[in-house]
């Protein structure tokens, strides 16, 4: 039962093969059994069983049921959940119980979903390996033997929970790759919608112009079902879009014949492993065999995306995280004697190193004297990248690249300097910089039996193309889904 997709579980529930309570208990048991993965920060067992019960009675009455009725989900701990602690992976919010629900999680609840708990994540979503969490690192369920692999980040807890079948699907959030990169590392599907497709209301903000919620699922079809539920304009988020929300699932199984798939030549990174290249080629072959046309395109400014991202995102974060001052909620350092001291000690003790590093970088790039050299330049780069994509999308319908430059690395073997760590995002950040939708689909395992993923990037609000192409790739990749956790 634990390996079911949303689509399968929903059919089972409606046919009353099992109840939502049974399904929920199955996952709660597994979460406890595999608690050493550390995928969850907070469990909401009682609420989960209560909503499962309600869902069962809806199903029993055959009254109107939602698209996710009775489906047990995990919620990244950056979505505010009313009455359930929300930490954003930080000590700063260790005691924060939100008085309201995020729009995305509310939409899931309205669709009948059951929330198992809140998943672990890099602190304030700043990280690519889930090792910056105040609540400890997460173990990738693909780990074997002594080597404990990272699940990727920042939505590492959600990725591990989905891959390890501790839930059916989960929410993630993607600022520079935080849905797609952990999805690739964990052998699952991760979709980052177009900026504005989903409301950011009630998501702990990292970089407001880049943040976007997204589904992390076992299948492309599930991603389509999930995405439709969480999409749509929200009057509480002025950056959310009024663009109509199609039935994404209807694009599952649609042919990709005549579709032009762009291969950006600049994505052949220097020193890229042959295995990644082989995986990429496998993807091209699949698409070609399915009738798509493979065309080389150029994104000449893509190489500046990563440095520009590491200016813009910390700049926004430095302001977004200013509110964590110990005054109104969350952590406050004890025994301080003045306002300034309270600020200093609270932020010194409440934030981890990576968060502090980014606040410092962000503060620096926005200060008089460096603003034009860094922040203004980064905004210009952002425009140039946008032009690159606009041009490319005149030639092709969709772009395909590897999701990550490597497979998951072992905990303790991660790059020690922050800049090398940032390279994990090199293939994903471009989509965020331009607000484009992207999906990571598992393609194969590398020699060390670690999952690799390929990424599709589509024009704004063309998630339908991601579903259409992603499904073809998934169906032909024969990716060996993880059956059971062995670590």
């Amino acid at each position: 039962m634990h390996t079911l997709s949303i689509y399968e579980a929903r059919r089972g529930l409606l046919k009353k093969k099992f109840s939502s309570v049974e399904l929920t208990k199955c996952f709660l048991d597994r979460i406890r059994r595999f608690s050493h993965l550390n995928a969850f920060i907070t469990l909401s067992e009682e609420q989960a069983l209560e909503s499962a019960k309600k869902s069962d009675s809806r199903i029993a009455l055959e009254s109107s049921t939602g698209a996710l009725d009775g489906i047990p989900l995990a919620i990244k701990d950056l979505f505010l959940t009313k009455g359930v602690r929300t930490t954003a992976g930080s000590k700063m919010l260790h005691n924060f119980i939100p008085p309201f629900e995020s729009t995305v999680s509310q939409k899931l609840l309205d669709a009948g979903a059951v929330f198992l708990g809140k998943t672990n994540m890099d602190e304030f979503a700043m990280g690519s390996a889930n090792i910056t969490s105040h609540y400890g690192n997460v173990i990738n369920p693909w780990s074997q033997g002594d080597k404990k692999l990272v699940p990727g980040g920042s939505s590492g807890g959600s990725a591990a929970a989905v891959a390890g079948h501790l839930c059916i699907a989960a929410t993630g959030s993607d600022t520079g790759g935080s849905v797609r990169q952990p999805a690739a590392f964990s052998g699952i599907v991760g979709l980052k919608p177009t900026y504005g497709r989903c409301s950011r209301y009630g998501m702990v903000a990292f970089a407001s112009s880049l943040d976007q919620a997204g589904p992390m699922t076992k299948t492309v079809r599930d991603a389509a079902i999930f995405l439709r539920v969480i999409s749509g304009y929200d009057p509480k988020d002025s950056t959310s879009s009024a663009e109509s929300v199609p039935d994404f699932e209807s694009f599952v199984g649609k042919t990709v014949e005549k579709i032009k798939v762009g291969i950006p030549k600049e994505y052949y990174l220097e020193g890229m492993s042959p295995e990644i290249e082989a995986a990429w080629k496998k993807g091209m072959d699949i698409m070609r065999s399915a009738g798509a046309e493979i065309i080389e395109v150029s994104l000449p400014h893509a190489k500046y995306a990563l440095p520009a991202y590491y200016i813009i995102s910390p700049a926004e974060a430095s302001a977004n995280l200013a509110r964590y001052d110990g005054l109104r909620y969350g952590f406050r350092a004890a025994g301080t004697k003045s306002l300034i001291e309270m600020y200093e000690k609270t932020r010194e003790e409440g934030f981890g190193d990576e968060v502090k590093r980014r606040i410092l970088v962000g503060t620096y790039v926005l200060s008089a004297g460096s603003y034009d050299a860094y922040y203004t330049k980064a905004l210009q780069v952002r425009k140039l990248i946008e032009h690159d994509f606009t041009k490319s999308f005149k030639q092709v319908d969709i772009i395909m690249t590897p999701t990550t430059p490597s497979s998951a690395f072992a905990i303790g073997e991660e790059p020690q300097d922050p800049v090398s760590m940032y390279l994990n995002d090199v293939l994903t950040v471009t989509a965020n910089m331009v607000g484009l939708p992207g999906i990571s689909v598992p393609i194969c395992l590398d020699k060390l039996n670690r999952p690799l993923g390929l990424q599709f990037i589509a024009p704004h609000f063309r998630e339908d193309l991601l579903i259409q192409s992603g499904y073809i790739l998934e169906q032909n990749a024969n990716f060996p889904t993880l059956k059971e956790i062995t670590i």
Partner: protein, 490 residues
């Protein structure tokens, strides 16, 4: 141009203002919380105002309409696209750790406000811009020896920052500018201008230089919240800067605070300590786009403003400029005046002036005595017009009318009812007046003799006696005429 003169020569004063005007609106700029003044601490605070994690600002379009209206009212240009920015600084009453403001691309550019200089000449004070921003909360330090308290009721309330060019040349002009701006804002109903409630406050930039030379270095006096204080602060600041420059020193660019208790400004921070606000575009809000049709619609709601009204009152009713501008200073006063005028049977410049005198003089002193404003007047425009009509038609004298107005104020009865009840109607019968005068003259034969011997000022004595006999009701003109006639007869 007016210069200050000291023993070393002439100085020119240059003043620019940043006026923070609180927008009249039921809800805050980015949240639905109430803006009502006087609520219990932290009563009007939403999660957005308290900067909870995950909250987002949503523009209250009414506040934008108000700012557009203000911009149009001061002859500014509404920018069809403007931007919000974050101004970053830490303070306990600033929950977000940044203020959402407009930095590079304000909603309104340009514009001007006309004032009168000391010679009564009209002078345009140009505006640089008006931008929209959110207010901070309040820190309260005087409730406990060891603690500070934060009240976030004001946090997030919409402000318009109205920035002038350095066109003002004296403290008096500054006061005139603020009064005129306040009057316009109140006409527009976009800011109530209550300086004592903090809904209007100003940062004042002051510099001095020798006429014909470049402008001097300015000092900024922060957050002065009454016209009296602004005038005092400028006075102190000008003296301070003259003293520095005349003793060979240099004025530093710095921010100063005005201390109302001693009328001095004190150093708050020097240029070196100036905060770096790290402005950057607010990523939670798309650019603010205003359609021309929206501007046109708002333009139609703008009432006749004080300057236009002053000219009209002068032209239409022949009022002197002083009276007209006083009446036009507040829309409610002007409305009252025009409503009263409309109730007069004949409107000529003489009647209009009489009405103005009675309203600005007698009625205002009654209002002041009871601490009321014109809208709370016990005497309606119609009643005042009736009183003026009684005077004009010689039913009562002006002197009696003053008493009648007092009775009207206290009893809320109409003038004619009071005149009738109290029998205050003027005696206009020549025979009655002559009879009365003859009896006065008979009573004082000595004085009559003195008068005839050339002591002409006794004329008034006889008039007074006759008035006394008639309880003031005799028509004064008639009384005078008849008395003259009687003396001439002899």
């Amino acid at each position: 141009m007016k210069y200050l003169e000291t023993s070393t020569g002439k100085w020119e004063v240059v003043i620019g203002l940043e006026v923070h005007a609180q927008v009249i609106s039921n809800a805050k700029l980015f949240s639905a919380a109430s803006t009502k003044f006087g609520a219990a601490p932290n009563e009007n605070v939403s999660f957005v105002d308290a900067a909870f994690p995950g909250v987002l600002p949503v523009i209250n379009s009414f506040c934008i309409d108000q700012a557009i209206k203000t911009g149009l009212g001061v002859n500014g240009t509404v920018n069809l696209v403007s931007h919000f920015d974050r101004k970053n600084y830490f303070y306990a009453d600033l929950p977000q750790g940044y203020q959402i403001s407009q930095y590079k691309h304000p909603l309104i550019s340009g514009g001007y406000v006309e004032i009168e200089d000391e010679n009564g000449e009209a002078r345009k004070i140009r505006l640089e811009r008006i931008h929209v921003e959110q207010d901070a909360g309040k820190s309260i330090h005087d409730q406990s020896p060891t603690k500070s308290y934060i009240d976030l009721n004001r946090a997030g309330v919409a402000l318009m920052e109205i920035v002038t060019m350095p066109d003002i040349r004296s403290a008096e002009e500054t006061a005139a500018f603020i009064k005129k701006l306040r009057s316009i804002l109140r006409y527009l109903k976009t800011c109530d201008g209550n300086m004592d409630e903090g809904s209007m406050r100003a940062d004042v930039n002051v510099s001095i230089h020798r006429p014909g030379t470049e402008y001097g270095t300015r000092a900024e006096i922060k957050n002065v919240n009454s016209i009296k204080f602004i005038v005092a602060a400028i006075g102190f600041e000008v003296d301070r800067q003259i003293e520095i420059l005349e003793s060979g020193g240099v004025v530093n660019q710095e921010t100063r605070l005005f201390d109302p208790s001693n009328g001095r400004t004190i150093l708050m921070r020097s240029k070196e300590d100036a905060q770096d606000y790290r402005y950057f575009p607010e990523p939670d809000l798309p650019p603010l786009v205003v359609q021309q049709s929206r501007i046109d619609k708002i333009r139609k709601t703008i009432p006749e403003l004080p300057d236009a009204k002053t000219s009209r009152l002068q032209q239409e009713f022949g009022l002197p400029h002083y009276d007209a501008s006083l009446i036009a200073s507040e829309m409610e006063i002007a409305d009252y005046y025009e409503a009263a005028l409309a109730h007069l049977p004949i409107i000529d410049s003489e009647t209009a002036k009489i009405l103005a005198n009675w309203m600005l003089g007698e009625l205002f002193s009654l209002l002041n005595k009871d601490g009321k404003n014109i809208c709370q007047s016990n005497v309606s425009p119609q009643s005042l017009a009736e009183l003026i009509t009684l005077i004009k038609t010689n039913v009562i004298s002006g002197k009696i009318a003053k008493d009648v107005l007092k009775i009207m104020w206290d009893s809320k009865k109409s003038a004619s009812v009071i005149v009738k009840e109290k029998g205050l109607q003027q005696i206009t019968s020549s025979d009655d007046i002559e009879k009365c005068l003859r009896s006065v003259l008979a009573e004082y034969p000595d004085k009559v003799a003195e008068y005839k011997n050339g002591k002409e000022k006794l004329f008034g004595f006889f008039v007074g006696q006759a008035m006394k006999k008639t309880q003031g009701k005799a028509n004064p003109q008639l009384l005078n005429d008849i008395l003259k006639k009687l003396f001439n007869e002899d």
